[in-house]
């Protein structure tokens, strides 16, 4: 097996504003994100030779994309992996250009969650029983299971645990204010978080990301072709993907303190990218903060905090914009919003801009290597995905 490192370059990206975009349908969002990408890359739609398209609720087949962009008779594949759909679309595009079967490929993710009154209505067809007797566990419940057990094992009272999580949300909101495309731009305090409406105990309103509409897109070419398009292209350094096999529920000794899929995906990505000390070698990261507890455990799972030290790092501001390793510099899922299949690509968009020094007030100094992380599905059966990107040498 070979690494993807330095074989593929991103030459253009686009991202719509995320939010409650009542006046935008899926076609509008696809056009907005993809045309920004075309312009950024300096290519035209007809230059695209193949495309991968990710959506949970806004399209069943590749023809959604071809219809929106009027791509005529091009190979287009729909990709679906819940919240990691977007990066999976990108990865497929990368493998295609790396193999040489095409030269320029497009990846796009789109979601109109606000078209459904309950967001992505829980009609998960798997991995639970096909008779669907047991009500599906909404994501907030799954992460509440982890929070309850995590607080218990660390000997934290519920309020104490909630305060730690609150600091993560406050940090992300401070970043969201600096990001015009984010759904929410609102400063909050720890007290605001603690007093907010309870969603699924112990997670309150500000511990949970919002449901939003949005789209993002990326255009990739083989690395040796990238300089024909731009100087400041961004290289793919590594991908790590994995799917859980239901272990968390099938095995009674799974501890609900960690998500093994995250750990395995990170391992694979670091191996591909040749990263041995993530805390030192990663300059900026966008991680899957669907719920604040997820971001907390990710700090250790991604190797940013030493084991058992996540709380210390939170309280020391390690992951704030001016900290040692800024995380979720664009406000994260928390503020940017979470249109499932677009989020992976939105995270890569922020990393892409950071590496090109185009992140404005959010710019991290000397950002040379960036990481994105997503995880979609149910506890024990998550599809985790880590991408590592870097500046050209």
């Amino acid at each position: 097996m070979e690494s993807i490192k330095d074989k593929v370059a991103i030459i253009g990206m686009g991202c719509t504003k995320f939010g409650e975009l009542w006046e935008k349908g899926p076609y509008d969002l696809i056009v907005d994100s993809c045309y920004e990408a075309f312009e950024d890359a300096g290519v035209e739609p007809k230059d695209i030779q193949a495309a991968w398209f990710a959506s949970l609720v806004s399209g069943f087949t590749g023809s959604r994309l071809s219809n929106a962009l009027k791509l005529e008779y091009k190979p287009i594949t729909r990709v679906e992996n819940f919240c990691s759909g977007g990066i999976h679309a990108l990865a497929n595009a990368c493998y295609a250009v790396a193999s040489g079967v095409c030269d320029i490929a497009l990846a796009c993710g789109v979601e109109k969650l606000k078209d459904r009154a309950s967001g992505f209505a829980m009609v998960n067809p798997e991995p639970v029983d096909s008779s669907k007797v047991i009500p599906e566990t909404p994501p907030a419940n799954m992460f509440a299971h982890i929070a309850i057990r995590y607080f218990h094992d660390h000997g934290w009272e519920i309020e104490e645990g909630r305060r730690i999580l609150a600091q993560i949300s406050v940090k992300s909101h401070n970043n969201g204010i600096l990001c015009p495309k984010a759904h929410l731009q609102q400063k909050i305090s720890v007290e605001d978080v603690l007093k907010a409406l309870m969603i699924v105990y112990p997670l309150g309103l500000y511990d949970c990301c919002g449901l939003s509409d949005g789209s993002a897109a990326a255009i990739v070419v083989r690395a040796d072709m990238a300089k024909d398009f731009r100087d400041d292209y961004v290289l793919v350094k590594g991908f790590g993907f994995c799917s859980g096999a239901g272990q968390a529920i099938l095995q009674d000794d799974y501890d609900f303190l960690h998500i093994q899929e995250n750990i395995e995906a990170a391992k694979m990505a670091y191996l591909q990218a040749g990263i041995k000390n993530p805390r030192d070698e990663i300059d900026v990261a966008q991680v899957h903060d669907c719920f604040s507890i997820h971001e907390l455990i990710l700090y250790e799972e991604l190797g940013f905090s030493p084991k058992g030290k996540a709380r210390e790092d939170v309280e020391a501001g390690t992951f704030a914009l001016d900290g040692e390793l800024p995380v979720n510099t664009d406000g994260g899922l928390k503020c940017f919003g979470h249109p499932l299949s677009a989020s992976g690509l939105r995270m890569i968009y922020e990393i892409y801009k950071q590496l090109q020094e185009k992140a404005g007030p959010r710019q991290v100094k000397n950002a040379k290597v960036g990481l994105t992380h997503n995880a979609g599905g149910m506890i024990g059966s998550l599809n985790a995905a880590v991408g590592i990107f870097g500046r050209r040498d």
Binding site: I148, R149, A245, D252, F256
Partner: protein, 467 residues
């Protein structure tokens, strides 16, 4: 000798304080939760009855009710599957009559006496609804009782049985009626309860040469406590010492289950050689003579109607009852659970209804639901069935959901680790939020998960241990 080998019962955790109906009323009535019905209660009572007995030895199941959730569908099939009986059993619903439970006892006795059946399970369960503001709403309670009938190790012999079939429009429901209908109450009292009961008792005594003084106690399961005392008095029974308490103030009258539940209450305090006169009523009357044998010394342990009566949570708000019984229209938020698929439901009966998991023959890992490939060792070698419905477990972690819609909010999801290994994620029922703690002991309870496209979707939830 043929008669009762074991018994079990079930009263829901919940009571409605009658003051919630009207300030001048006394006592409480037992009310099934929103996720319970005559079938779920029957399952609970049956499992209670069969504790310590080999379920594979039950040859027949009779399910007795006036409130089956289906107009056409064998309720006994669902109960027998949930209780994990054999497939080759006699199964029947005895329905439409308040005396269905005792009629089924007669059929059971005849079956074992003739030798055509060895052990028969009779379970009666009702969840009757009186119109808001009616006397039936005041008096009806929800509950279930189960008896195991056979000819060996008999605790109480059913030594005599007499029945009257009597046509009258006293208490009934027509095809599409939700609420109980009844005619003039004095008509029912005189020409129904009193006349028919007297005729039936007289018939029993005459046919079997019995007299009032042969009985220690009378159990008169008439749906009106005043009628019970009047009947007792008219036969010379002392109402303080020789009439089984109606349990009206703690439970209410429980329809087809009533006669069997009152019989259990009596048996709990019975001694060898006691003889009881049991009467039930419903378009006629069944009466029987029940004689306690020496086997009462070995009466089943931990079976106690009293304990069910005493373990309760009282609701003082009529709105909760009205919501649970769908007396008020309410809008379900748009959170579709998907379609109910009869084929998928049938294919997954073992995991959903029998609550089977498996144990890997290669590495011994217990896992739920049943898998084709072992989660731990990945072998495709083979599995043994493991039944979780009668196992106890401990709460490993949980969540309390305030925003997803459920008939009762907030809703609790639990991760349970079981004694003997294995883990299940399920909803938790009958719980108060501030009582939930990691490691608390729980057991499994058969409940109705949903009703969609005309299908009652049943499975199991966990509950705090009742007693």
């Amino acid at each position: 000798m043929s008669g009762i080998i074991s018994w079990g019962s079930y009263i829901p955790l919940w009571r409605l304080d009658r003051k919630a109906i009207s300030n001048n009323l006394r006592g409480e009535k037992a009310i099934a939760g929103f996720d319970e019905d005559s079938i779920t209660m029957a399952v609970a009572a049956t499992i209670d009855c069969l504790k310590g007995f080999d379920r594979q030895k039950v040859d027949a199941l009779f399910f007795c009710t006036t409130t089956s959730p289906y107009k056409e569908k064998l309720g006994a099939a669902i109960v027998a599957t949930a209780v994990d009986l054999r497939k080759d059993i006699i199964s029947a619903d005895f329905s439409n009559s308040l005396r269905a439970g005792t009629t089924a006892l007669k059929a059971a006795i005849d079956g074992v006496k003739s030798g055509s059946l060895d052990r028969v399970l009779v379970v009666a369960s009702d969840c009757r609804l009186g119109a808001p503001g009616s006397n039936w709403e005041i008096s009806c309670g929800d509950g279930a009782a189960a008896f195991l009938i056979g000819t060996s190790e008999v605790i109480a012999e059913i030594e005599a049985f007499y029945s009257i079939c009597d046509e009258m429009m006293d208490i009934w429901r027509a095809e599409d009626d939700r609420f109980i209908r009844s005619s003039e109450s004095r008509f029912i009292l005189h020409e129904g309860f009193a006349r028919v009961s007297r005729e039936a008792i007289a018939g029993l005594m005459r046919s079997f040469h019995l007299k009032e003084k042969d009985f220690n106690k009378a159990i008169f399961a008439l749906p009106d406590p005043r009628a019970q005392t009047a009947l007792a008095k008219s036969f010379g029974f002392d109402i303080k010492t020789q009439l089984q308490d109606s349990l009206f103030n703690w439970m209410g009258e429980t329809g087809a289950a009533y006669s069997l539940m009152l019989l259990e209450a009596t048996l709990e305090d019975a001694k060898e050689n006691d003889r009881f006169l049991l009467l039930s009523y419903g378009n006629g009357s069944d009466v029987m003579s029940v004689k306690v044998s020496r086997g009462i010394e070995k009466r089943p342990e931990n079976r106690s109607l009293k304990k069910y009566i005493e373990s309760k949570k009282v609701i003082e708000d009529y709105k909760t009852y009205a919501r649970w019984r769908e007396l008020l229209p309410f809008v379900k938020p748009p959170r579709p659970l998907g379609l109910a698929s009869p084929t998928a439901l049938w294919r997954e009966l073992d995991q959903n209804i029998r609550l089977y998991g498996v144990k890997c023959k290669t590495c011994g890992t217990v896992q739920y639901p049943p898998q084709e490939i072992c989660t731990r060792c990945h072998s495709k070698g083979g599995f043994e069935k493991v039944r979780f419905s009668d196992k106890r477990g401990r709460l490993f972690t949980y969540s309390v959901d305030y925003i997803s819609w459920a008939p009762e909010m907030p809703s609790v999801t639990a991760i349970i680790n079981f004694e003997g290994g294995g883990r299940i994620q399920s909803l938790m029922a009958d719980t108060k939020i501030d009582e939930i703690k990691i490691d608390m002991p729980v057991e499994m309870s058969f409940r109705k998960m949903d009703f969609r496209e005309g299908i009652n979707v049943y499975s199991w939830k966990c509950v705090p241990i009742r007693h």
